[in-house]
Point group: C2
Chain length 301, copies 2
DNA sequence: CTCCATAATTCCGGAAATGAGATTTTTTCC
DNA sequence: GGAAAAAATCTCATTTCCGGAATTATGGAG
C-alpha cells in the first residue's frame, strides 16, 4: 500500500470522478483508474461502485475513506515531527488574490496550528510581480499561475526568471469566463455580448490568458478592477464578462445566476529560490502538498 | 512515502543492522540500504547514525519510529476494517512446534483481539504432515519450513504437494546446532563430540536439514524427542547436540551456558490451498504479514 | 601493525511497475 | 438513434526497484 495511491483514492472519493481526480492530483485518468484498481485488488474489496460514469463509494469505500484520511494526516505529522529544528521566525509568502481566497484559508489554519512560532507574512499580488519578488529576495516563496505552454513564448522575461527558481504544482484551477445571467452560451470570444472583459492587474496570468483567448476573435477592451468581488459585481451589471477560477466563483454569494465558459486548466505553482529553503518553507511546502488531493471542491457538478 | 519502506525502517531500527533487517523482511542488504537512504532523503533528515558497522537511531529516527509504528498499525487496521464480511466460524491452523513457541503467541493474541468471533484450532506437527493435512483439507493453512533449495530434490513428494498450494514467507529463522556447555567450537559435524543429534520427528524440516549437514562428515545417529524442552535437556546432559531455531533457544531458561553453530537461515511459509481463502484466513494472513519486520528479536548480539 | 572477517555501501544489469497517450466501450444527454 | 463524455483497456517508453558483484570501511585476532 502506497501513500500516493491513497492520495489518489481521496481525490476520486471526493470528486466522484476519475477525470477530475486525475486533474486534481496531476496525473492522467488511465493512471488513476489503474491505481484504484490496484488498491481494490490489494484490499480485496470493491471501493467504488461504477454506476455508469459516476464513481460512488461503496460501504467499504466509506470506511476506508476514514482510514485514508487518518493515514495521510499521520504521515504528514510524521514528516513534520522529524524536522530537526522546529521552524520559527518569519516566512514571507506571496499569493495571488484567487489562491488567497479559495485555497489558503484551510492550509494556513493548519500551518498555524502546527507551527505557531512562525509568523507568516502574506503579500497579495499578480504572478509576475510575485515571481520578481521571490527572485529579488523580497519574498521567500509564492503561489503563482504559470501560463500554459502555448503562451510561454510571449513573456520571455517571466520565463527566464522562473528558470532560477524551484517550482512545484500544488493546485489545479479551472479558469472561467463568467457571463451575465441572461447571456447566451458562447463558443468563442466572438459570441460575447458585453462591453469589456473584467480582470485584475496586467501582471495577472489569468488576465493574460483571457486576453489571449479574446484577441483571437474579438477586440474587447479589458477593464481593470481591484478584486474578484468587484469583477463579479461588474458582471452582474451586464456590461462585462469576468475572469476567475471556478474555486473562487464557488465561494461567491451568487451561485446560480451566472453563465460560465471554460478557458482551460491552469496549475498553481509554489515557487522559491533554489537552494534557499529555510525550515519554515519546507514545513509550508509539506502542508500544501498534503492538501493536494484533499481540498474541498465545491459543487463542481 | 511507501509503507514497505516503513516496514524496512522498522526492521533496521530494531535490529540495528542492515544485514539482519534484510533477512527479516526477505530482501537483499543493498536494497535495504537504498530504501533507508531514500526515506532519509525524502524526510530530509538523517534517521540513523552510522557508527562503523552499527546503525543506531538518531534522535529524529527515534521520533520517526513512533510514527512508523502507528502508521503500520493504522494501515493494518484499515485493511481489516474494509473486510466486507467479518470473519467468523473456525480457522484450522497447523504450525510447527517452534513457530508456536516463538512467533505465534503475539500474533494470535492480536488476532483474537481483532476477530473474537473466529475460533482458532491449532494443530502442531512436522512440516511434512502439516502440508499433507492442508492438501487433504484437514487444515485451512499451516506454517511450515521449506527445505533450502539445495535439498529440495530429496523429497519429491513434499515438493509436488507444495505445487498445489499458495505459499508465502512470513518469518525467517536462524537454524542452530546447540552444543553442550563445555563443547569446543565446531566447523563441521566431524568436530562433534557427542553421541547423537537430538531432534523432533522425521517429517521435521529442521531435523532433515541437520541430518543432511551431519551426514557429510560424520555418522551420528539421531535421537528423537518430543519437544524442544526435551531436546535442550538432552543437550544439557552432554550426550547430544540439539537442533532448533535461535528464536526458540532465546526463549529457553539457559541462555548462556550453551555453544551454538549456525546451520543457515530457513524461511517459515504460510501455506494454504489455492483459491480457497475464507475471510478468516485472509485476516490471519494479514496479521502475520504485518508482523514481518516487527517481531522481537531477542538478544541476537 | 597487518590481515581477516564482517558489514555497509556503491555499481550495474535485468525485471517489474508506472505513467502517458491512443483506442475501445459504456453511458448519458439530445 | 447519434453525439459527447467518461471510464476502462491497451501499448509503449520511462522510471523505479531488486538482486548480485564489486568496493569500501570497520573492528578484531594474531
Amino acid at each position: 500500500m502506497d501513500l500516493s495511491s491513497i492520495e489518489i483514492f481521496l481525490a476520486v472519493a471526493r470528486d466522484r470522478s476519475v477525470t477530475k481526480a486525475a486533474k486534481a492530483v496531476g496525473r492522467v485518468p488511465s493512471n488513476v483508474t489503474t491505481r484504484i484498481q490496484q488498491l481494490e485488488e490489494d484490499l480485496n474489496v470493491s471501493l467504488f461502485s461504477r454506476d455508469g460514469k459516476k464513481m460512488t463509494l461503496t460501504r467499504e469505500g466509506e470506511t476506508f475513506l476514514a482510514y485514508a484520511d487518518r493515514l495521510m494526516a499521520l504521515a504528514l505529522e510524521a514528516r513534520q515531527a522529524v524536522r530537526p529544528l522546529a521552524p520559527s521566525g518569519t516566512l514571507r509568502v506571496g499569493t495571488m488574490e484567487s489562491t488567497a481566497a479559495s485555497r489558503l484559508p484551510a492550509a494556513l489554519t493548519q500551518f498555524n496550528r502546527m507551527w505557531p512560532d512562525v509568523s507568516l507574512h502574506l503579500t497579495m499580488g499578480a504572478s509576475r510581480d510575485l515571481a520578481r519578488a521571490v527572485v529579488g529576495d523580497a519574498l521567500d516563496c509564492a503561489l503563482i499561475a504559470r501560463p500554459p505552454k502555448a503562451m510561454r513564448g510571449e513573456d520571455a522575461d517571466f520565463e527566464a526568471g522562473l528558470k532560477a527558481l524551484d517550482m512545484e504544482p500544488v493546485f489545479v484551477e479551472e479558469l472561467l469566463i463568467v457571463l451575465p445571467s441572461g447571456h447566451p452560451a458562447i463558443k468563442s470570444a466572438a459570441d460575447l455580448r458585453v462591453g469589456s472583459i473584467a480582470a485584475l492587474e496586467p501582471g495577472c496570468t489569468y488576465r493574460r490568458i483571457a486576453e489571449n483567448w479574446a484577441r483571437k476573435s474579438s477586440a474587447l477592451p479589458t477593464s481593470e478592477l481591484g478584486s474578484y468581488h468587484a469583477i463579479l459585481a461588474s458582471v452582474a451589471t451586464g456590461k462585462a464578462a469576468g475572469v476567475m477560477p471556478r474555486s473562487v466563483l464557488d465561494l461567491m454569494p451568487w451561485p446560480t445566476s451566472v453563465q460560465t465558459h471554460q478557458l482551460g486548466l491552469v496549475e498553481t505553482l509554489l515557487i522559491s529560490r533554489k537552494n534557499d529553503h529555510p525550515s519554515a518553507f519546507n514545513a509550508f511546502h509539506e502542508v500544501l502538498s498534503a492538501r493536494k488531493g484533499r481540498d474541498i471542491r465545491l459543487a463542481t457538478n
